[in-house]
């Protein structure tokens, strides 16, 4: 048996070498340098903003670390910003695309065409028809790197932009474009958008809170094919056994809410940010700021304020004082202002807690 034993070191060495090569392979591939190109930041931003009509199909993942202190009415939105969401996308254009949120045992597919949206939920067996609305809660398609990157860059000023090297994303060389918001009130430290220089498509978007090393939100493509997907992949015909539903009409809900909302006049400026108007946003809601620094203020009926106060105070980081209750989830601040003699307000946005407190003092009827 001694003769047999003699070959052992050589055989084990061969196995060891095989394992070492296999273990090292992923790190070697990941360490492959990306080709940088000398494209100015403003030019890269223009390419991103022009990429809305670029057709593509791909597989993307978004990971959020934002534990939003919201009540159980908004769990879908809260999950979107705190969980890992895997998405398959087929994009023919801004009004014709399909985004499937893939989960272990099911999927929720949103099929958009100019007439509206079909949302298919496999596990619930439902097909929901919705009409396009100018104002809606965030949905998974909004978190696609391409859509989010365009949105975050759309209002960035040239002096807020800089280049940030290059990296490999989804097997492509992506050029880095960094936005550092100029507003003092901003709680966003920086936004890094990694762009495919040929198509202008953002391949990865990372949002960092101020002084944070890890992104509060990271969404990127894992695989991408730059070709217009066939129309039959995007269209949807509900299966016969599906339960058909109609999505609530958000325009009508907003109109109703506006009727019930306390009548207040919001100031023209809050926390140093000027007020602006958006299509679909009711007058009772004030939106302030620009780019990645936004603040929304709205009066809320007492019933809603109670639920919100409960959700906010449950958070261990909540700050309570005479102005109200405020809490930050990564770069997102949320505050409930409850003045003694007037309606309650909710303030939320990508601003610091100090900016929220400053804004609260300027609200009509608030303690100053």
């Amino acid at each position: 048996m001694a003769a047999r034993g003699r070959g052992a070191p050589a055989r084990w060495a061969a196995v060891g070498l095989l394992v070492a090569v296999l273990v090292a392979l992923p790190s070697v591939v990941a360490a492959l340098p990306a080709d940088d190109a000398d494209v100015p930041a403003a030019e890269l931003r223009a390419a991103v903003l022009a990429s809305e009509d670029v057709g593509f199909s791909g597989y993307a993942v978004s990971a959020g670390g934002l534990a939003l202190p919201v009540s159980d009415r908004l769990t879908a939105v809260a999950d979107l910003f705190s969980d890992r969401t895997l998405m398959r996308v087929w994009w023919r254009g801004p009004e014709e695309h399909r985004v499937d949120v893939v989960s272990g045992a099911g999927e929720i597919g949103a099929h958009r065409n100019p007439g509206g949206t079909w949302t298919w939920d496999f596990e619930a067996g439902t097909a929901t028809r919705g009409t396009p609305a100018s104002l809606a809660l965030p949905t998974p398609p909004d978190l696609l790197p391409a859509a989010l990157g365009r949105r975050l860059l759309s209002e960035a000023a040239d002096d807020e932009l800089s280049r940030a090297g290059a990296r490999r994303v989804a097997g492509r060389d992506a050029l880095g474009l960094r936005v550092v918001p100029a507003d003092a009130a901003s709680s966003v430290g920086r936004v890094d958008v990694w762009v495919d220089p040929a198509s202008g498509l953002p391949l990865q978007v990372e949002v960092f809170a101020e002084d944070a090393d890890l992104p509060a939100l990271d969404t990127r493509f894992l695989g991408l094919e730059l070709a217009v997907p066939p129309a039959d992949v995007v269209t949807f015909t509900p299966p016969p056994e599906a339960t058909m539903l109609t999505a609530p009409d958000t325009e009508e809900l907003i109109a109703q809410a506006e009727e019930r909302a306390p009548d207040v006049r919001l100031p023209r400026e809050l926390a140093g940010l000027p007020r602006r108007s958006f299509q679909g946003v009711p007058d009772a809601v004030g939106v302030y700021g620009r780019g990645v620094t936004l603040l929304a203020a709205a009066p809320v009926p007492g019933r809603l304020a109670g639920g919100l106060r409960e959700a906010l105070t449950a958070s261990p980081d909540a700050v309570r004082d005479e102005l109200g209750t405020r809490v930050a989830a990564g770069p997102l601040g949320l505050m409930l202002v409850e003045p003694a003699g007037g309606p309650a307000y909710v303030l939320t946005g990508t601003v610091t807690l100090d900016a929220l407190a400053d804004a609260a003092r300027r609200l009509p009827g608030a303690a100053s």
């Binding site: 499937d100 272990g104 045992a105 939920d121 496999f122 596990e123 067996g125 299966p239």
Partner: protein, 270 residues
């Protein structure tokens, strides 16, 4: 030698007893669901089980999903752990090696027999699932079914994809078989070898649920097990399926090489 191994394996009553026990759980689940009319709520329970009340043809997939996380790997680990260590414990290993065929060929024969066992087991679970599903639940009136993405699949497409799922689950189990076989060459105790393989699986399943382990998650042997669901999306999502196949290939290759390095130079005394 492969023929001898296959005959030995499938003549053993305990092989068939294992397969029978493995089928008991999905059948029990089917009977309970049928009697109570209570399928798990959507999003809960094993994949596809919530859909079987309306389409019995999906029960083979639900049955596979029921046994895949625990029962199937236990069965495979027990049989794989027995492969070499069982012969050593029974004192028959040295007689096997007296034959001129060589140790490498014996290992390959054992692995092929294991693959056959895995395939037969998975096919039997799916076949029993089909019979149970069609007997206890309603079949879709028009042939075919609905994909996970909500598009309709013809009977032919559904059958094709089900066959692919059976193949995929079989390949997914090969990693377990390779762990069992490797440990089986290390020890003379089949129980220790089987438990070793199970320990690897439990560790892998546990690490997969841990956020802190996410950098190594793509390399965990159980990572892509449930990717067979992706075969029922439309279009098929090949990404995880391909990765799952490649990962199992790597595990089988490395563990077989390690088993070979150990076994061909091992002193066999029993």
């Amino acid at each position: 030698m492969i023929g001898v191994e296959l005959r030995t394996l499938f003549r053993r009553p305990r092989t068939w007893a294992t397969i029978a026990v493995l089928n008991a759980l999905p059948v029990l689940v089917a009977v309970l669901v049928q009697l109570t009319d209570l399928a798990p709520r959507p999003g809960e329970g094993p994949p596809f089980l919530s859909a079987v009340l309306t389409n019995g043809a999906l029960f083979p997939l639900a049955a596979l999903a029921i046994v895949l996380p625990l029962f199937l790997p236990i069965a495979v680990a027990v049989v794989a752990g027995d492969a070499v260590a069982g012969e050593a414990q029974a004192g028959t290993l040295r007689y096997l090696l007296v034959r001129p065929a060589g140790r490498t060929r014996l290992l390959v024969a054992k692995l092929v027999a294991l693959m056959a066992f895995v395939l037969v087991t998975v096919v039997v679970v799916a076949a029993v699932g089909y019979v149970v599903g069609m007997t206890l639940f309603d079949a879709q009136p028009v042939g075919g079914g609905t994909s996970v993405s909500g598009t309709s699949l013809s009977q032919q497409e559904l059958t094709g994809r089900s066959l692919m799922a059976i193949g995929y689950v079989t390949v997914s189990m090969l990693g377990v078989a390779a762990f069992g076989l490797f440990f089986s060459t290390l020890t003379d105790s089949p129980l220790a070898a089987a438990l070793g393989a199970l320990a690897v699986l439990v560790t892998s399943s546990l690490l997969f649920t841990l956020d802190a382990a996410s950098p190594i998650a793509p390399y965990l042997p159980t990572r892509y097990w449930l990717a067979f669901v992706d075969l029922f999306r439309d279009p098929v999502l090949w990404r995880d399926v391909v990765r799952g196949l490649a990962l199992q290939g790597v595990y089988v290759g490395v563990l077989l090489a390690a088993a070979w390095a150990n076994f061909t130079t091992k002193d066999v005394t029993s």
